[in-house]
Symmetry: none
Subunit: 301 residues, 2 copies
């Protein structure tokens, strides 16, 4: 009714008549949930709930004013379920209303699946897929040729065989080194990914490792013991590049299921020149990734 | 008083007399806080509070049963502070009591440094350090012998050679599978870590991989393509165990600098029985870790 739409008390209960149509995404780690549904049985809305951080200034009140239920005890460890007074334990709520299809998609999480790719699978499934898609890496060539982003380049070794360009990743605003994120892009144009690496690429990899660390020490005062240096597999573009991120900064894609430490790659190639050609590799693919469909077709996953 | 110490109601208020001496660390992203203080004005304790993930199955009740206070409105966007019924918005509470200096240090936020450990470094630096510290794993033996947490065990293969116990990690409240986290602890007591693994352990590793995945599929309906199965190096305790976490859940310690996929470990041992004995391994150590000092002394880092 109109009355409902004009008064504050109604607004305080805007979600009481909310009908959920789908959970778009959620994070158990961050205690968030993104929901799509309808308010007042009519208007589409996206609702975002996020538990609030635990505040130091209300800690004493929280501990004394709550009730505890014992769940488990073992030796010196015990766990409880704590029920707190509501005003000390709020949930931040954001409502987007009316929400369009674009809003809904923006907040929709795509599930990921771990794919197992043998050396043969790469040849018969992944490589043909990459070639058929012919993903453009023109933007990479623009960087290498100084046709774009020239002013962002931090360092260049121009050698055509072992050279590379070092520049900040887009995700890093360069305002602080806490989330330092740089990318080294190789000048050689025929190396698509980790899968193509053999012992003949050791000089290239060692050069990137060595000079990349030197440059970051000089420019950002971070020694190599503060760096995580790795490749992605699958990469997001098929022109060889190496990620340099600050240790302690949980950069997206630094998980063991996708990242390969450059130091390990070098060691593995030193002991087996064909390590990455023959090895079974594991990586996550999003539900909407065309390559995942190819694996499902071919392997009847 | 004795009455207090013997009855459950007392335990429900174990934190009501808690005096905070320091906040060891906190995370606004994860909604956690780690506190050092005293219970009953005497015993040292570490208390860990973590807000619980927002559960899909109680979403309707949460939205209809809460009160909302408008904070901001702009065009289609508005934000509110939501106050929920306490039983729908619990805080997971872990108490370590009595806590030693080591526990306090463990939870104190610390910078990390990446350490490079050759096979020789392990023999001359790390192994003597582990042996000298003789970290207690009594709590692990309690689990294996069913003296504690018996009701938490999800599955057991009792075989002394290849058997293991599978149970939820402390970090997981088991309310939703989004942040599924289980640990497989091996029955064999002589395997300290990844470094001790050789090809003779392949039947053990394959058994854990196979049966762990089967059990998780049966019990939690998660297929292996949704799992990240890995070991830590360095581990947090020196009795071999394997982590099973849900793919997509960024579990602490799943970064490439510390985690080793079990599938990779198996492959590496199959092609080189002494892979983990001889390989240079990289791992982060916190600034206050005694092992880091040892590395600095020996290598003049």
């Amino acid at each position: 009714t109109n009355r409902h739409q004009d008064t504050e008390p109604e607004r305080e209960n805007v979600l009481s008549g909310f009908k959920t149509s789908a959970v778009l995404s959620d994070s158990a780690r961050e205690k968030t949930i993104f929901i799509h549904g309808k308010v007042w049985s009519a208007e589409d809305a996206v609702v975002i709930l996020e538990k609030t951080p635990i505040r130091q200034d209300s800690l004493a009140e929280l501990l004394s004013g709550s009730t505890l239920q014992l769940e488990m005890r073992n030796d010196i460890y015990s766990t409880y379920r704590l029920q707190a007074p509501p005003h000390l334990n709020e949930i931040k709520t954001t409502v987007v209303c009316p929400a369009t299809e674009k809003h809904v998609k923006k907040y929709q999480r795509q599930e990921s699946f771990l794919v197992e790719e043998t050396g043969d699978d790469y040849q018969s499934i992944t490589l043909p897929y990459i070639q058929k898609q012919s993903f453009s890496v023109q933007w990479v060539y623009n960087i290498l040729e100084k046709k774009a982003e020239a002013e962002r380049v931090v360092y260049e070794d121009p050698d055509p065989k072992v050279g590379f360009v070092l520049l900040p990743d887009f995700k890093w605003d360069q305002k602080q080194v806490d989330d330092l994120y740089l990318i080294a892009i190789v000048h050689q144009r025929n190396i698509k990914s980790l899968r193509d690496l053999t012992s003949e690429h050791l000089p290239l990899l060692q050069n990137i490792f060595q000079k990349g660390k030197e440059q970051i020490l000089q420019r950002y005062k971070l020694p190599s013991s503060k760096l995580r240096v790795y490749l992605h597999y699958q990469p997001s573009y098929y022109h060889l590049h190496v990620h340099f991120t600050k240790l302690g900064y949980e950069a997206p894609g630094c998980g063991v299921e996708r990242a390969h430490l450059l130091a390990d790659v070098i060691q593995n190639l030193q002991s087996d020149p064909r390590y990455y050609e023959t090895r079974t590799l594991y990586f996550p693919l999003r539900a909407d990734d065309g390559l995942l469909s190819k694996f499902k077709e071919d392997l009847e996953l």
